[in-house]
Amino acid sequence: MPVDTAVRPVRILVAKVGLDGHDRGVKVVARALRDAGFEVIYTGLRQTPEMVVDAALQEDAQVIGLSIHSGAHMTLFPAVVQELKRRKATDIVVFGGGIIPEDDIVALKKKGVAELFTPGTPLQEIVDWLRKRFPQGGN
């Protein structure tokens, strides 16, 4: 059987969780990831953790990128990780961005969020982190 050796792009679901509608950050990051060669699916606004995980499974995403601006990250980010556990999909990597204080970053990493990016992060840093995390691309 011939083996397809082409590198498949990593599929990333980016989502706005919570009630706030501040989508500047998520859109800028989504465009940058797309330009860097990732396959990006954007859920739109006001996604519950359940909706995010549903969409990630449906879209066969390897990564979920969460964006929030309202201060509810301590509730909603771990809820996404929990939902992935419940659906036995813990191979999906979760990262996030927003206005997140340093102490919260430590706590969120303990709860299974792989990385958090705060205001002022160069887009390249996010791209580099994802490439390092997925050296084989989406294969």
């Binding site: 009630l19 509608g21 500047r24 309202s70 509810a72 509730t75 909603l76 705060t118 002022g120």
Partner: protein, 547 residues
């Protein structure tokens, strides 16, 4: 031989061209990308009759006396945790010389849902104060005489409900609605365009806005019924010209809707107010404020035939740019905010919010909030900038830039009109794409270091000292949930049910909904119950997700 006198401008031009220029790769256009000349001269001054403050087209200000007559209102946007906590902060700010209140609501309140709704978890009291019913509003304004203070409320989809709660609290204080002064943001169009806190589809959303404008014209005549906002458009990434154009286009859409309802322009236009961002590009912002007044006055007179000169005067609130602040070396934000506030004052703002240095990390602490207020007091009383009206009027540069921003705005008005107006343009994602494009372009300029943010992409430090920030006690979530459930248990349920049924019936017809909302509020119907009643009739709006 006689030396011929040479024109000084020509001499300068030659000298300039032969002198070395910086080659650091930093953009010399404005932050919005307007190309700038290195020097402006009398040649750049537009040929027109002299403009004067208090006279059409009000480019130099709406009052003949400028700040000699009255300083701007120092109005710090504030709200967090519970009504009780925020009430304390208001009293603290008033004791420190603040001259008006401005309420920040939490996300569930902004989205019209109660604290015990499942999607409220984690959001209660975080980015503003949690208000579920009249009971919370009574606590929020406890001991604050509503007849003597003016209050601004930043709320949009559920704006009519919160205004009714304010009216009902005033009633309990013995203050009639006719004596109330303040501002309701109530600007749903910019929610669809930028901030995205919409609930109902555009049409019923506009009906609610017009209902409140119509009602207030009769019952709450001193109230600014809408604050047509560019702030959120700018913060979402637009340029200065886009902020100006989209905001004024929204303003005209509200005017059109009120006229369609049968209202006369001069009966409501003087209560329309505006809200702009003061970004970090100093002169561009001043030019934007000046252009805003001129464009509005002209359109109101020439397109809508307004006769009352109060209808022509664009009054605005300003907030310094949250998006310009940095989490890195946050003390720098004090300097940024002071410069932005100065631009707002030189642009002739009627009221001002200065951001606190820690707002990029969390809601401000008492100390940071006071520093931000002190920055305004320093501008007003130490710098002398309030002594002269429109001090930059006649500046070759500022006058030319004012004209350029006006020109760019007019180009956008034409494009919006070609798309069929503001609502069709929203449905075609026109504004959303324009803003996202500008935001991405700016981000790329930062990445390429063609623009610098001090402490972010240059002049960074390795180890930053953490700043003490305001923490919202997670316990309050349960307390607020208990509070709203207690209200539901203890109210006169028959009165409440009757009021909501009447509201629903009115929503199905064409009556003004304000009296029905007011009665529901008085009966302690919760915000979520009132919104859900309306959702049953109006439905909800979902945005097409574009990146």
């Amino acid at each position: 031989m006689k030396v011929r006198a040479r024109d000084a401008r020509e001499v300068w031009k030659e000298d300039f061209e032969s002198s070395p220029s910086r080659d650091d790769g930093i953009e010399t256009s404005t932050i919005s990308g307007i190309p700038l000349k290195p020097l402006y001269t009398a040649d750049d001054l537009p040929k027109r009759d002299e403009e004067m403050p208090g006279l059409f087209p009000y480019t130099r200000g709406i009052h003949p006396g400028g700040y000699r007559g009255r300083l701007w209102t120092m109005r710090q946007f504030s709200g967090f945790a519970t009504a009780e906590e925020t009430n304390k902060r208001y009293k603290y700010l008033l004791a420190n010389g603040q001259t008006g209140l401005s309420v920040a609501f939490d996300m569930p309140t902004l989205m019209g849902q109660d604290s015990d709704a499942p999607t409220s978890r984690g959001e209660i009291g975080h980015c503003g104060v949690a208000i579920d019913s009249l009971a919370d509003m009574e606590t929020l304004f406890d001991g604050i005489p509503l007849g003597e203070i003016t209050t601004s409320m930043t709320i949009n989809s559920p704006a009519a409900i919160l205004l009714c709660m304010y009216i009902a609290v005033a009633e309990k204080q013995g203050v009639p609605a006719s004596a109330l002064g303040g501002t309701l943001q109530n600007d749903i169009l910019k929610e669809f365009i930028a901030q995205k806190e919409f609930i109902f589809p555009p049409e019923p959303s506009m009906r609610l806005v017009v209902d409140s404008i119509e009602y207030c014209a009769q019952e709450v005549p001193k109230w600014n019924t809408i604050s047509i906002s560019g702030y959120h458009i700018r913060e979402a990434g637009s340029t200065a010209a886009q902020e100006l154009a989209f905001t004024l286009a929204d303003g005209m859409a509200y005017v059109d809707a009120c006229i369609e309802r049968g209202m006369r322009i001069d009966d409501f236009a003087s209560r329309l107010s505006f809200f702009f961002d003061a970004h970090i590009d100093f002169f561009e912002e001043i030019a934007k404020f000046r252009a805003a007044r001129r464009i509005w006055a002209r359109w109101m007179r020439d397109r809508y035939g307004a006769q009352d000169e109060r209808s022509l005067k664009l009054r605005f609130h300003t907030q310094t740019a949250g998006v310009s602040l940095t989490a890195q070396q946050p003390e720098l934000n004090i300097a940024r905010t002071a410069i932005e506030a100065l631009a707002a004052v030189l642009g002739g703002t009627q009221s001002l919010h200065t951001n606190a240095m820690d707002e990029v990390l969390a809601l401000p602490t008492d100390k940071a909030a006071r520093l931000a207020l002190r920055t305004q007091q320093l501008l007003a009383y130490e710098t002398g900038v309030a002594n002269t009206i429109d001090p930059l009027g006649g500046s070759y540069f500022v006058e030319a830039l004012t004209d350029e921003i006006e020109r760019q705005a007019e180009v956008y008005f034409k494009r919006i009109e070609e798309l069929g107006g503001v609502i069709p343009a929203i449905e075609a994602s026109f504004f959303q794409k324009e803003i996202a494009d500008s935001a991405f372009k700016y981000q790329q300029e930062l990445e390429q270091k063609r623009r610098l943010m001090v402490g972010v992409n240059e002049f960074t430090v390795d180890d930053e000292e953490p700043m003490e920030i305001l923490r919202i006690d997670p316990k309050l979530e349960g307390e607020q949930v208990a509070r709203v459930q207690n209200v539901r248990r203890t109210r006169d349920q028959a009165r409440c049910t009757k009021a909501l049924a009447a509201l629903r019936k009115a929503a199905e017809g064409t009556d003004n909904l304000m009296p029905h909302i007011l009665e529901s509020v008085r009966a302690y119907a919760t915000e979520g119950e009132i919104m859900n009643t309306l959702i049953e009739v109006f439905g909800i709006y979902t945005e097409k997700a574009v990146i």
